[in-house]
């Protein structure tokens, strides 16, 4: 679950990580009112969307009067912001965060994430923060500082002190950095995060550390123990088809092509998409049916493919396994075709448990299906039926 900047800052504040005083606004009047209430002489007006790299796209505006804050908010609210992370259509701005602008001397980078090879949470830090951090660290990995955390102790004073020193901090700033690092670790664990990124983490002349921007992602698998955080979920930020798929327990990612794809299992789904692309096809989606999917869930998933106007052919690749059987999938598809109508070629490859039964079910229900024996045949047939991508 992705959080907005203002939500992430609120959660970090609970653990003592400071950020500039700010307030959410959903209209230009609210924005001006927020600026007056916050006080000060300069404010940042920041579009709240689930995507990074907002500043260069005009999503962060600095203003010197409440009137200018109102004007900036009016311009942002209701507009679509396009950043390198939003896709070409951009994201609709529904709210802005008005924040006191602060003067500072340095910008650091500090994040907590799961280091998979260590199987532990790690802090990642760099002496210079900023928008290009990922590219810079990829080009110069020696600039990336890392602290892998023992889950039984958490970040210790000594470890955090060492990392603060490596960041070039001393005195009050180093002391605050130790607090921020330990708080970040605590917040990560408390909220079951999978990523918390503070970029930049500003150092003021007085040695205060302030989180100027925060990106936070929570682990969906741990939501059962965080009923209090459920309200932070912003469904407006999720693709409507993907949101519907989530309700039916399907992993669905909307893509830009024309071949609708339904596969069981992420690895096989990735492989199927790879093969389609190699044969000149363009997948319209990535849909991974989970092993315990029910017939009804499959019907809903298949209707998502049928409803996508870009789809000119559909490929179903099911390897019936220990849990999911091909006949369950066939019954789900047949029901979807009956309810919503099938107007595009459908290619089905049903292998493994009850594959033969699946073919019988689809044929006996009169669904016009082209069957394929192997993955390669299935991919070739659907690309043929749906057409290759425009040259």
């Amino acid at each position: 679950m992705n959080l907005h900047e203002y939500q992430a800052k609120d959660l970090l504040r609970r653990h003592g990580v400071k950020s500039p005083a700010g307030q959410l606004a959903r209209s230009s009047d609210e924005a001006a009112e927020a600026a007056r209430k916050l006080g000060g002489t300069r404010w940042a007006v920041k579009a709240q969307i689930h995507a990074g790299l907002r500043q260069d796209a005009g999503g962060v505006q600095f203003c010197d009067t409440p009137e200018a804050v109102a004007a900036a908010a009016a311009k942002l609210l209701g507009s679509r912001l396009v950043t390198p992370q939003t896709g070409a259509k951009g994201k609709l701005v529904r709210s802005v965060y008005v924040e006191q602008a602060v003067a500072y001397e340095r910008e650091l980078y500090l994040a907590a994430l799961v280091n998979r090879s260590a199987g532990r949470v790690a802090l990642i830090a760099a002496r210079e923060g900023g928008n290009d951090i990922e590219a810079r660290l990829a080009a110069a990995p020696e600039q990336m500082l890392s602290l892998v955390i023992d889950p039984e102790t958490g970040v210790t004073e000594a470890e955090a002190g060492r990392l603060a020193g490596e960041l070039g901090l001393a005195g009050a700033a180093a002391e605050q950095a130790v607090g921020v690092m330990r708080a970040l670790d605590k917040a990560f664990t408390t909220f079951d995060a999978s990523l918390i990124e503070i970029n930049p983490l500003a150092v003021t002349a007085a040695g205060d550390l302030l989180a100027l921007d925060v990106k936070m992602v929570l682990d969906d698998n741990a939501q059962f123990r965080h009923a209090d955080l459920a309200a932070l979920r912003d469904e407006d930020e999720i693709d409507p088809a993907e949101l519907e798929a989530q309700r039916y327990n399907l992993n669905y990612v909307h893509l830009e092509g024309n071949i609708g794809v339904m596969v069981n299992g992420a690895g096989l789904a990735l492989a199927t998409v790879d093969l389609l692309k190699e044969q000149g096809g363009e997948p319209a989606d990535f849909m991974d049916v989970r092993p315990e999917a029910t017939r009804a869930q499959i019907t809903h998933g298949f209707k998502l493919l049928l409803r996508n106007p870009a789809v000119t052919a559909i490929l179903v690749n099911i390897y019936g396994g220990g849990i999911l059987r091909c006949d369950t999938v066939a019954e789900g598809i047949a029901a979807a075709c009956k309810e919503a109508g099938l107007n595009v070629p459908l290619i089905v490859r049903a292998a493994g448990t009850n594959g033969e039964l699946a073919r019988k079910i689809l044929m006996s229900q009169g669904i016009p299906v082209t069957f394929a024996q192997t993955l390669a045949q299935a991919a070739a047939k659907v690309v043929e039926a749906g057409g290759r991508k425009a040259a």
Partner: protein, 291 residues
């Protein structure tokens, strides 16, 4: 003895009386796995599938001599169940449970350090030694006993590859699902070591996917320790959009690491035969096994 398990391995099931566990343990027993009982807190003393049920792993181990466990416990209690088995000195575990919180697995991984327990999973289809035994949820139909060892992050892709390998009239010594989660028990390197040491395995197939660093670690291991047997790999997700979650919790790119092209490049440089297309994995194995 095959790797990790054999038809003599005494297996218990945690979460034994649940629907999924019942279904799969019945099939495991029919396949030849020596299932000796189950553990369900609060249901000790009952029977299930003609086998005894215990309240704790320690009691089950004491009474049955079990050395392996299959974990079918729901996500919220899965980590506690695994840790209970680590504390009871169970030697080998398969955790089938999907959607275990990643920080729970961080705690489990810490407890595994220095213990005598090996874990595959979570989100694993388990392990199968064709014709002899299996622990997990993998289907049994197209596998054949033979000399190809398979280690995989994905269950359905493993079925696909078993079909392709069997179509080449080659069989499998064992197939292991290490699971697709970001933090998990045994990795590719652990399994490569076992297959290399196994006299019944002549060729190893590694099925990877985008995200994480298991493939890169396998490549580094093979670069430093030349493989005594041919290794074939396929890495899924070459054409997946970056920065998106594609099914598994483990397949998210962070910092540009873990993309398929990088993994393939590293594996190829380490002497691994790469299957260019997912439709050609069986063929690549046939060619490598012959070479």
């Amino acid at each position: 003895m095959a790797i990790l398990i054999d038809s003599d391995t005494r297996v218990i099931c945690q979460g034994f009386t649940g629907a999924q566990a019942t279904y799969h343990m019945e099939r495991a027993i029919a396949y030849g796995t020596k299932v000796v009982g189950g553990v369900v807190p609060g249901k000790g003393g009952r029977g299930h599938l003609g086998l005894p049920v215990f309240d704790t792993v320690a009691e089950a181990r004491e009474a049955t001599g079990a050395t392996a466990s299959a974990v079918f416990v729901p996500p919220r209690n899965a980590a506690a169940a695994i840790i209970e088995s680590i504390d009871a000195d169970i030697e080998f575990m398969v955790c089938v449970t999907e959607r275990v919180p990643v920080l729970d697995m961080v705690r489990v991984k810490r407890r595994l350090e220095g213990s005598g327990t090996r874990l595959v999973g979570p989100n694993s289809q388990g392990i199968m030694v064709p014709g002899r035994c299996k622990i997990g949820v993998m289907p049994a139909h197209l596998e054949r006993p033979g000399k190809v060892g398979i280690v995989s992050r994905s269950a359905s892709l493993t079925s696909e590859v078993i079909e392709q390998i069997s179509a080449q009239r080659l069989g499998q010594s064992a197939s292991i699902g290490i699971g697709g989660d970001p933090v998990h028990g045994m990795g590719f390197v652990d399994c490569l070591k076992l297959f290399f040491a196994d006299p019944d395995t002549e060729c190893v197939v590694l099925l990877g996917e985008i995200g994480g660093s298991d493939e890169e670690e396998a490549a580094a291991f093979l670069a430093a320790n030349p493989a005594p047997k041919p290794v074939v790999a396929y890495v899924a997700g070459l054409h997946a959009p970056t920065e998106r979650r594609m099914g598994h919790a483990g397949t998210v790119n962070v910092f540009g690491q873990g993309d398929a092209a990088g993994k393939i490049k590293a594996l190829r440089a380490a002497g691994v035969a790469i299957a260019a297309s997912p439709a050609e994995i069986g063929l690549t194995v046939r060619q490598a096994a012959r070479a």
